[in-house]
């Protein structure tokens, strides 16, 4: 196949340097922080995942490759541990902790997401480890932060997104709030932790000084709620979940011929164009009547542009006559049912109307945009005799590309190269440690 004319930053070529290639990270995260270390690893950091001899508990999270439940086949593990190496160490064992301390001396960063206090109990908290390595950046990711009245609370993802104020905003008003998919609390806390680590790294680059990064999932979530907090602060209004229609805007999920679309056709400037389109297909029904034309203008105005509403139109038209909106939406709904997501997406783009399709993972995988940009990358899994397509990264660096060089590690896959070659431990020492349950 001829090489496509893609810009340099689309290349995942192996010969380019990586932005974080000089950084070693000790990864002691659970599922809560595992995306943080993936972000660092995919930018080239040497991330060493320190697992218990049975494997990190996150390996018992599905789904599994070909649905065979096995800690070496967890897709959760595959996805979040690309480019990492794995060693096993039983941190409950004092000899094993000495091995970890040796590794700490060689690392720039350590990330952990244990319950608050656990690392201190083992003598592996920041204050203990900074004595061994004053330049160490030690990042703790927890549900609520290292201190404060809730710091000891258990915080699986659902607790984080509930307490952070995100969950309350999604779903139907008369039903239970939605739990967003894919562990949004873990993702948010992990990305913020990575930002914190990199700001600390910048400071370390200039001064050599390390520090403790304390990341709270709740705090991370509570800044991802748009105006949830602000509205209460300045207006004493609680932002509620509003079902299909998003709070205040004419922004709604609608079914169409082959799925769903998210759109705001009547908000802002787009309504005139959308009306012309509907009309050109002879599907405008009675929306041509003056009363509906006025209603459409009020809907467009309702968004934000106060000045744009002609003085002869009653601003209260829709509140006085809610049936006008109901009918406009019925006509629009009927029109949507005659078109596919792709037709609607394309036509709305041409008309500068806000509409985007709701995609599932197959739609994304087949999206010509993703295909042409080579978003999905091949990752080899020799043990499975398979090459699996992985989703690409959140960004593309021109000179230091994001890339996946190696699949997620097997349990303890890198014990020999780290213990024997790098730490110079003898076979006897390793055998003793193994016998005492250390590795």
């Amino acid at each position: 196949m001829p090489e496509k004319d893609t810009p340099a930053f689309n290349s995942f070529s192996a010969d380019k340097p990586a932005a974080l290639q000089d950084i070693r990270v000790l990864d002691l995260t659970t599922e809560m922080g595992v995306y943080c270390t993936k972000l660092l690893a995919d930018l080239g950091a040497d991330v060493i995942r320190v697992e218990s001899p049975k494997g990190n508990p996150a390996r018992s999270l599905g789904p599994y490759y070909h649905d065979e439940s096995d800690p070496q086949r967890s897709l959760f593990h595959f996805h979040f541990n690309t480019n990492k190496r794995s060693i096993t160490l039983n941190l409950e064992n004092p000899d094993a902790r000495e091995v970890l301390k040796k590794l700490v001396k060689s690392a720039e960063v350590l990330v952990e997401s244990f319950p608050v206090g656990y690392m201190a109990k083992l003598g592996l908290d920041y204050d203990s480890l900074k004595k061994l390595n004053p330049g160490l950046i030690y990042c703790s990711i927890s549900g609520f932060g290292q201190e404060g009245p809730y710091s000891k609370y258990k915080a699986p993802d659902i607790v984080g997104v509930a307490m952070g104020g995100l969950m309350y905003l999604g779903g139907y008003p008369d039903e239970a709030p939605f739990y967003p998919g894919a562990f949004q609390g873990y993702h948010l806390a992990s990305v913020d932790a990575a930002i914190g680590i990199l700001i600390a790294l910048y400071h370390r680059d200039l001064t050599g000084e390390g520090q403790h990064v304390d990341m709270s999932m709740e705090e991370s979530v509570c800044e991802a709620i748009e105006m949830g907090m602000v509205l209460w602060d300045v207006r004493k209004v609680v932002r509620k979940r509003t079902g299909r229609r998003v709070f205040r805007d004419w922004n709604e999920v609608f079914p169409c011929e082959d799925g769903y679309v998210m759109c705001s056709p009547f908000g802002g400037a787009g309504w005139q164009k959308i009306f012309e389109w509907v009309d050109s297909e002879g599907k405008a029904a009675d929306l041509k009547e003056p009363i509906y034309q006025q209603a459409l203008k009020v809907m467009a105005w309702g968004q934000m542009d106060v000045a744009a509403l002609p003085p002869d139109i009653d601003k209260e038209l829709l509140t006085k006559n809610p049936q006008l909106v109901t009918h406009i939406e019925e006509v629009w709904q009927q029109f949507l049912m005659t078109h596919t997501r792709e037709e609607l997406f394309k036509n709305c783009q041409e008309r500068d109307v806000r509409l985007m399709p709701i995609y599932d993972s197959k739609d994304i995988y087949e999206d010509p945009q993703m295909v042409e940009r080579n978003f999905f990358v091949d990752v080899k899994h020799p043990e499975l005799n398979a090459t699996i397509k992985y989703p690409g990264g959140p960004y593309r660096f021109k000179d230091t590309p994001w890339r996946i060089k190696s699949r997620a590690p097997l349990i303890g896959e890198h014990n020999p190269e780290l213990y024997e070659k790098e730490l110079g431990m003898s076979k006897d020492e390793i055998a003793i440690l193994k016998k005492s349950g250390g590795i």
Partner: protein
């Protein structure tokens, strides 16, 4: 403490980004001491300057609460980029900046002579990050988008909700305040580290579509490896029961409860006073509880219903069981002692008045960030930036105002 040096002091950001996805990112840089210069124009206001909620009694562009929360710790200038002189000044500003950021459609910066190729000629180690919706290449490169739409196309909506219901997602423009500004800052900080080590800047493209897709966890891998399409997650997880949302006493009050291990199940039973149903064999193991989850959820809900959500949380958490309140904006500000102590900060905005803003969520022990100034008024720092930083003489500055270049 108050005048301790911030870690990003000395870094200057020419911030062309607007609304949310860019500005929420550069705010973090500002919190840690970078000089973030927000480039605006009265002819093309940041949409958040016109968006309610307004501060009480003031509907002006300087008094919108959302804008004033998102843009703390930035300087504000007005620059008319439609004017050739405006573009020339923008270029000069980039030449003395470390980072340039935009979230325009692809090609807009280039057309103004502010593309990466133009900027490296005047500042060879510049770091440029561009945040188009669909990417700079590909058949849909020119497509525009908006936060809620990006949540739709990225697959996040599809997996959020309950089976059989419309895929509503988070109900907000989540990509704009969640994944995209944060991924952008990971990229910028990684590029700064690389620059520290090598002296080299570079160009970063963050397609908001791709960045948000990266928040869908295993959904894509489950399709490529197993040919399965992940549906709505509902409130349940395969390795926990009970796990979900439960109604509590009061108007629209809810809690979440999450029981994973056998120990947690035992603790849960004890915390709810060991009712006889809880010791029924059909709930004995996780597998049993998963099999009878509908019934289990009904029983748990009957237990939560007469209790306050906060009471449920405290009771269960003190027993070692994961639980929380589904908090409203009001709960966050008025009832959450953790956030009140750790997070929120009160600022006095010169036009908006007193307002509570998000503090610095990322806590660094040696070089903590802090809220240093409220959001800028429109054009508030024109004199500082154009006269002091760019050295424009007074008379010329006045002419630039008259000619609507600084507009």
């Amino acid at each position: 403490m108050a005048d301790k040096k911030l870690p990003l002091e000395g870094i200057r950001v020419a911030d062309f980004s607007w609304v949310s996805a860019g500005p929420r990112g550069t705010r973090v840089l500002g919190n840690f001491g970078a000089e973030v210069i927000k480039i605006e124009s009265a002819g093309r206001l940041d949409l958040n300057r016109g968006r309610p909620p307004f501060m009480p009694g003031n509907r002006g562009v300087n008094a919108t609460a959302l804008f004033n929360n998102v843009n703390c710790d930035k300087l504000g200038i007005t620059l008319n980029l439609r004017h050739p002189k405006g573009r020339e000044l923008a270029k000069k500003l980039c030449a003395i900046s470390d980072i340039v950021i935009d979230n325009f459609n692809p090609g807009v910066m280039k057309k103004m002579g502010l593309g990466y190729d133009d900027l490296i000629k005047i500042k060879p180690d510049i770091i440029v990050i561009s945040m188009p919706v669909m990417g700079e290449t590909g058949p849909r490169a020119s497509y525009g988008g908006y936060g809620m739409g990006i949540e739709a196309i990225s697959g996040l909506k599809y997996i959020s909700g309950y089976p059989g219901k419309m895929p509503l997602g988070t109900g907000i423009a989540y990509p704009d305040s969640g994944p995209n500004p944060r991924h952008a800052m990971v990229a910028v900080m990684a590029a700064l580290h690389y620059r520290n080590k090598t002296g080299k800047g570079q160009f970063i493209e963050l397609a908001q579509y791709e960045s948000t897709v990266c928040f869908t966890g295993t959904a894509l891998l489950e399709y490529t490896a197993n040919n399965k399409i992940q549906g709505p997650w509902g409130g349940r997880l395969p390795n926990a029961a009970p796990h979900g949302t439960y109604r509590c006493k009061g108007d629209d009050e809810w809690c979440v409860i999450a029981v994973f291990t056998d120990d947690e199940w035992k603790a849960f039973k004890k915390a709810i006073d060991n009712p006889s149903w809880a010791n029924d064999k059909k709930f004995a193991t996780l597998a049993d509880r998963k099999k009878n989850e509908d019934e289990l959820d009904r029983l748990v809900n009957a237990w939560t219903l007469p209790k306050g959500a906060r009471e449920v949380m405290e009771l269960l958490q003190n027993a070692g069981v994961g639980a929380g309140v589904i908090q409203t904006g009001r709960d966050l500000l008025d009832n959450d002692q953790q956030l009140i102590q750790r997070h929120y900060v009160k600022v006095e905005h010169p036009e908006g008045g007193p307002q509570t803003v998000d503090g610095v969520r990322i806590k660094l022990s040696a070089t903590p960030g802090r809220i240093q100034r409220p959001a800028p008024l429109l054009g508030e720092h024109n004199e500082y930036v154009f006269k002091k930083l760019l050295g424009i003489p007074d008379e010329e500055f006045d002419m630039l105002l008259v000619d609507q270049v600084l507009y």
